[in-house]
Symmetry: C2
């Protein structure tokens, strides 16, 4: 019986443990920024693991790496025979040929072992389990590791390329700097051209499913097994530059300075206050400031500030954008500084497919797990698919909500629960 | 007549213009951090210029470079024959053998052409003029370029070494980082040991004179030619580290963050307010913040803040120190952060010699220039000499007060005025 099919938890754990060795840090996390050596090594290991599993290995011009499990018999037959579970599969394109299950192997600097990695290991394990079971599917299954989800270079890079959302402009002004992108692509044997040519025909995409850790405390607090994501927050990022004047820090009176640090500091405090007071569904982060010239005895002429903010709602998002840029302008004016605003990128909030959410809910009930609907405060590759094909994500509990940190942890039973729900949902959406 | 002796303004200008080529920036300033290639090249040029002038070139274990003009006849005779101007020369040690005139060739990053450089060119020109005149002196004259005045590595490094104030501890935790110091010393052929062995016997030092640009607006506003420095402010520097927790910047609620940027920002704004309100004679600067891990999508775990503050008065200085560290502790506590305080160095306020100030005042009157007594808001190598031998500085007007910036400018007539006062004061303090 397909509903009774479960992943091999021990085999999955062995794979997960091997993966955590690449870029392992003394603090117990991993450091695998996109195209750094540890990231490339993890990808080489993934390729070997795919081949050891008897699955087909594939890669594309965006550097995405995949395990591929083709439809065994008469792939064109899907058109003729209606799917058994007609209600759930109705949203799938009749021409759809591949259901993607994925996540990413890159990490933020000094990140955790589960973010991205769990989704890859679970997707691979789903394919291994389905292959062993001999289940008949009407679509191909593909476990995919997307390039640069975390944004060391561009952010959601591999999924944007695959879904045709990547533009030359995004490659020219990436958030990590053009130079780092060019160097990284060279190390990985990629180019602007190959990236832009990695788009797949929309009709080849049956859907996209992803298992991820929650990265928050909601599931843990509520004691619920599985979170079914209803929407992914949108993310906007800017580089704000406050520009004053370099002066001698001993001989220039306090009143006579044009000190860029003052507006940068006031903006950082003000942005937090603004969000806490007026935008309770949103978050804001000043992740970095770069001071120039950056000497003890020179009044800072310029501070470049890395700004990112998120909202699950498009209208609230636009209001927050206006409010933050007004605040920056206000603080620059207050301290007599110039303000330069560099827009680095935007991902709109993304609604998840109702069909896929329903499949996840049924899968939870089949496996005997509790579930709840929630939004994702983090960006994910699923965003790239929201206007292309049915897409849905599930979360498993993060201990203490820790994320993007070596303290990131999810109990192994919860990881296996997530993999089984992913397996069952994939079967519901792809079974003949 | 010695009182009528003047420097050769054209020759001095030619030397100054050549010097500005080393590390010249597109903005019209110079970039000559200590032991960077441009700094070493400027020093090679200085050595050649000294030798072209028929003066003796000397260097020491701290990398200080000098032009040396020895007493022509019977150096030991100084003990027997009392100086002609008994009142002014009375403070000089009877064993004194060398009167130093100096400044520095290093610059802050992207600094100006006049800071340090004018003092070196003027001191060299004074020696050339005295040598040509055949004036008889009771002490040797030395035009000295001190290593690392600006603090790329340690700050006042060469003068501290020469006066015996340099300690091994200062070399172990320098403000620019130990690694940069070690690399720099290697490039210059120096070592900890040579630095610590560069101290000269106190009785060999007859005094130290320096000409410098004001780096403020007081002389320009008052329309006065020469500022005679009564005291140099003290400088304290710290590295303050605010330490919180790295978290995912999308999934961690605003209230659940331990964001190091908040205390760093609040401290920066609060420190300014504190000084403006309660310490009108002092200044404070946050010249740099370093964010870790420093990514768009991670809440900053740690911010290292470069803090420097100055006061001309020792008691006020101590009160400001306490107030700033209290403020840092308060802001860390308010945002739930740890605070690490690293003391990087202190120079106490330094009183200038009354004898030397009097010599400068008489020199101004001899040359026909207006003068005023003022304090120095900038640190200078003269501080190192304050407890060792008579020391005094003069300032010439800075256009618009610009300093540590490519906009730094002093009219050439003012530069020549300063050199002539330096010449006349040196003659008063050293003539037989």
């Amino acid at each position: 019986m397909t509903k009774d099919l479960r992943v091999n938890a021990d085999r999955m754990l062995a794979s997960f443990n091997q993966l955590t060795l690449f870029g392992a840090t003394a603090e117990g996390g991993v450091h695998r920024p996109t195209f750094h050596e540890a990231h490339l090594a993890a990808r080489r290991w993934f390729r070997e693991e795919v081949e050891r599993s008897g699955l087909e290995f594939r890669t594309d011009g965006a550097g995405n790496h995949s395990a591929f499990l083709p439809v065994v018999a008469s792939p064109s037959g899907a058109k003729q025979s209606p799917p058994r579970n007609a209600e759930i599969a109705s949203e799938l394109s009749p021409l759809a040929t591949t259901l993607l299950l994925g996540s990413h192997l890159d990490s933020v600097p000094n990140g955790g072992r589960f973010d991205g990695a769990l989704g890859i290991i679970a997707a691979l394990e789903v394919l291994r389990t389905v292959k062993e079971s001999g289940s008949k599917l009407k679509v191909n299954l593909e476990a995919i590791d997307f390039t640069d989800e975390e944004g060391t270079l561009v952010g959601l890079l591999g999924s944007a390329a695959l879904t045709g959302h990547l533009t030359p402009a995004m490659l020219q002004t990436p958030r990590g700097g053009r130079e780092n992108l060019v160097e990284g692509m060279q190390r990985a044997g990629l180019s602007d051209e190959s990236m832009l040519n990695a788009a797949r025909p929309r009709e080849s995409l049956a859907g996209y499913l992803e298992l991820h850790i929650e990265q928050g405390k909601r599931l843990e607090r509520a004691g619920i097994n599985i979170g079914i994501v209803s929407a992914i927050v949108g993310i906007w990022s800017y580089r704000l530059s406050f520009i004053g004047r370099a002066d001698h820090a001993g001989t220039t009176t306090m009143d006579d300075r044009l000190d860029a640090s003052l507006a940068a500091s006031a903006f950082t405090l003000g942005a937090r206050e603004l969000v806490v007071k007026d935008f309770p569904g949103c978050v804001v982060n000043v992740g970095k400031m770069d001071f120039a010239p950056g000497a003890f005895n020179i009044v800072p002429e310029r501070v470049d500030l890395s700004l990112e903010f998120r909202s699950p709602d498009e209208e609230e998002f636009k209001r927050l954008d206006v409010a933050l840029l007004e605040l920056a302008g206000h603080e620059a004016l207050r301290f007599g500084l110039a303000l330069r605003v560099e827009f680095l990128g935007k991902h709109s909030p993304s609604l998840m497919s109702a069909t896929v959410q329903r499949a996840y809910a049924e899968a939870c009930e089949d496996v005997g797990l509790t579930h709840v609907s929630l939004t994702s405060g983090a960006g994910h590759d699923g965003q790239s698919f929201a206007d292309v094909c049915p897409v849905g994500m599930i979360f498993v509990p993060s201990v203490a909500g820790a994320s993007h940190s070596p303290r990131e942890f999810t109990k192994w039973d919860d990881c296996v629960n997530g993999a089984n729900v992913l397996l069952q949902a994939a079967l519901k959406l792809s079974a003949e």
